[in-house]
């Protein structure tokens, strides 16, 4: 009985979809017909003028000019028809695009001592081939999928994975937006940006260390644009994974073992050309149990995370001159993270609880002096979130050549200076990143 009802419901939905598509098609067809009629009428009038001109002696434009005009109008009619065809195609198909990213690198130290994830010496690394598809689902929601084929930096082994596959409402009341599925949770400034959209080659060390790179999360997120004149946005969500936290915690997961996160962001127009954006984010997993940590120093053989807490503050000051922002801009971005994780430690003899407070940050300045060229400097500092005495500094000047919107080269030098507690060695690296895009590509408002 229930199955029958579901089938009836599905048939009704399909009928409704068909009706809607037919209505859309008819609407476009009518508009097209009207435009063709208008141009045909214009053509007729011109033809009549041409005939009349042939029988009069007053000065007339040369026949070749009239013929050119008719040809031009013909082309216009063709153009309108072609444009309408394109409109129809985009109505019925998702926007699809590919992004490719190749990194050529040279490291002075071998792996893992260089602490970069890249092998020592020279390497060519196809970091990702990203397939994006997005479209409206219905009048109430849109959806997108980002599939990513990538190679392991050290082994070169390739894998294909779904980075994002999510649905987002478009018509909830009270300025709310709900996102569900697997997506990049809104946390901090650069953790929910895809690699190829970063202002430099590699994700900052502190984001890799505390978040696990991108803020990928299978879960749900609710975002609220506050109903005030000043821009304030509040986002909160949860996910069974967040960045590199585990997606499986054994045979049973309580709500306490889920990652909860949020972000409050705001914005100020300091002057028409100067903008300031700021945000505060939090991430907590009250019972992150069973995360096997790496071998740690001080005689501790294992660290097992029991609670995860990461706080984040971010700021972006931009000079975006209204007159020529495509040719000139300045951006200063800074993000500071504080990790306060609890671990169950084992030193071969005993188990004991340990809380490790660690912090890290990055700050960068990018100056754009032409449509194609920009350059900047990235400073990084991070403490290991399991052993805060282990610290690493990073210094990276970079130069970007955006040949076009879809083709970009970036050259970056990075010197990392870890202390002895990290077990790594100072490393000098040169990266050449080549990013290309084909087809449709947008990550929307977040990647602005």
């Amino acid at each position: 009985m229930i199955a029958q009802a579901q089938e009836t419901n599905e048939v009704e939905q399909l009928k409704q979809q068909l009706r809607q598509m037919q209505e859309n098609f008819e609407k476009v067809q009518n508009e097209q017909r009207q435009q063709i009629n208008a141009l045909t009428q214009k053509l007729d009038e011109l033809s009549k003028q041409q005939q009349a001109a042939a029988t009069t002696v007053i000065s007339v434009p040369p026949a070749s000019a009239m013929s050119d005009r008719l040809k031009e109008l013909d082309e216009k009619v063709d153009g309108v028809v072609e444009a309408q065809k394109k409109t129809l195609m985009s109505e019925f198909n998702p926007a699809i695009g590919f992004v490719g990213e190749t990194i050529f690198s040279q490291q002075s130290k071998g792996s893992p001592q260089n602490g970069t994830g890249y092998p020592g010496g020279f390497d060519v690394y196809q970091r990702s081939v990203e397939l994006n598809a997005s479209a409206s689902v219905d009048p109430f929601a849109k959806a997108w999928v980002v599939a990513n084929g990538s190679a392991d930096a050290s082994t070169g082994e390739t894998s294909l994975g779904i980075e994002e596959a999510a649905l987002q409402t478009t018509s909830l009341p009270w300025d709310l937006t709900l996102t569900a599925g697997q997506f990049f949770g809104e946390y901090g400034r650069l953790s929910y940006i895809h690699d190829h959209e970063l202002p430099f080659v590699n994700r900052p060390l502190v984001l890799d260390e505390y978040i696990g790179g991108e803020s990928k999360t299978p879960g749900a997120q609710l975002s609220w644009l506050l109903p005030v004149e000043h821009y304030v946005n509040l986002t909160t969500g949860f996910g069974t994974q967040f960045g590199d936290s585990p997606d499986a915690v054994g045979s049973y997961r309580s709500f306490g073992a889920v990652n909860y996160y949020g972000r409050l962001s705001t914005y100020f127009d300091l002057t028409p050309d100067w903008q300031l954006e700021g945000g505060a984010s939090w991430l907590v997993n009250p019972d992150s149990g069973n995360v096997n940590g790496e071998l740690a120093p001080n005689g501790i053989t294992t660290l097992t995370s029991t609670r995860r807490l990461v706080l984040d503050g971010d700021l972006k000051l931009s000079y975006v001159p209204l007159r020529n922002n495509q040719f000139n801009s300045l951006t200063w971005g800074t993000e500071v993270l504080y990790s306060d994780n609890q671990y169950l430690a084992n030193n071969r003899a005993n188990n004991f609880n340990e809380t490790v407070g660690a912090w890290g940050m990055y700050s960068y300045l990018t100056y754009k002096w032409s449509r194609s060229w920009s350059g900047g400097f990235l400073f990084e500092y991070t403490q290991n979130n399991q052993e805060n005495a282990a610290q690493t500094y990073g210094y990276s000047p970079y130069l970007t050549w955006a040949i076009s919107h879809w083709n970009q080269l970036r050259l970056q030098y990075t010197h990392t200076q870890p202390n002895a507690a990290t077990g790594n060695q100072p490393n000098d690296a040169v990266y050449l990143q080549w990013v290309w895009i084909i087809g449709a590509h947008t990550h929307g408002w977040q990647a602005r």
Partner: protein
């Protein structure tokens, strides 16, 4: 302490909500200053028009400021040029605004390109042709006759949104169209002596303008839309301009002067700076003032 912070915030939210609910005027957000000016002329005292652009920006390069999101969130109508002119900023802003009234296809989404036949519709939108607009060239706003169609579109949208003011909107529209017609006669007379004159510009802003006023649009300094010129392209343009005796180089103010100045110097052409929307240069705050400036600047340059 917490209460001290919490109470003013709640009061501010409540006061804004009440103020928004009681606002008697239609809240219109226009993307660019030309369609903003037309909307002000038709809407008169019954609309409150805010423009995202100030006039000095590139039409495809208006920055996506979060403050625009709050503005669009409360808008009754969004008025745009259309033909994908605002593709670089409007779709993301509309999505972030969470305002269902102004989304594409809704009555509050007022696309002024409706009913206008586009020029230069590309046969292909392959990126080898640069950042082409799939619907055709969107810069019809520099043709005052086509802008009359935009005035009618805006008027119809305002009537649909506030039918109680229909008579006023129609009266305002007719008065504005009459004014535009009168100016148009003067503008055509001013440029009549220069019919057939060729000119180049940095970006493809001027084909509609050229056609309307009998000038010949010769080419662009950009290699392709959105792609900077290469030395080879510049040299080729200089050679063909010399061969064809092109006397005018137009630079839109948002583009750098260096290359247009070099081309003008090498070819002996006159270099002029022309706005692409009201406010682009001083004393061009309205659409009519902008067009007046363009017409007389071109005429003065060609008289030399």
């Amino acid at each position: 302490m917490k209460l001290k912070l919490f109470c003013p915030t709640i009061l501010a939210v409540f006061a804004t909500m009440v103020a928004v609910a009681q606002s008697p005027k239609l809240r219109v957000v226009a993307t660019l200053t030309d369609v903003a000016d037309l909307t002000r002329n038709v809407g008169g005292d019954f609309v409150e028009v805010r423009s995202l652009a100030t006039g000095i920006e590139d039409t495809h390069g208006v920055p996506m400021k979060p403050s625009f999101v709050s503005l669009l969130n409360r808008a009754d109508l969004v008025v745009l040029v259309g033909f994908d002119c605002e593709h670089a900023f409007l779709p993301a802003l509309l999505e972030a605004s969470r305002n269902p009234r102004i989304q594409p296809g809704k009555p509050g989404y007022v696309d002024c390109s409706k009913g206008i036949s586009p020029r230069d519709v590309p046969k292909s939108t392959d990126h080898s042709e640069g950042d082409v607009h799939s619907y055709g060239n969107p810069h019809y706003t520099l043709d005052p006759v086509l802008m009359k169609s935009a005035v009618n579109t805006i008027c119809a949208a305002l009537i649909a949104a506030a039918p109680e003011h229909e008579a006023d909107f129609v009266k305002n529209r007719d008065a504005y169209l009459a004014k535009l017609d009168a100016e148009m006669a003067e503008w055509q007379a001013t440029l009549a002596p220069f019919k057939g004159t060729k000119f180049v510009s940095y970006h493809e802003h001027w084909p509609y303008f050229a056609e309307r006023f009998g000038l010949v649009y010769f080419g662009t300094i950009e290699l392709k839309p959105g792609i900077d010129p290469t030395p080879h392209h510049i040299q080729e343009l200089i050679n063909t301009m010399k061969a064809e005796h092109v006397p005018l180089v137009v630079r839109e103010p948002q583009f750098p002067e260096k290359v247009p100045a070099l081309i003008a110097k090498q070819t002996g052409a006159t270099l002029v700076k022309l706005p692409i929307m009201p406010g682009g240069v001083p004393d061009t705050d309205t659409y009519i003032a902008e067009m007046d400036y363009i017409i007389h600047t071109v005429a003065d340059a060609l008289k030399k």
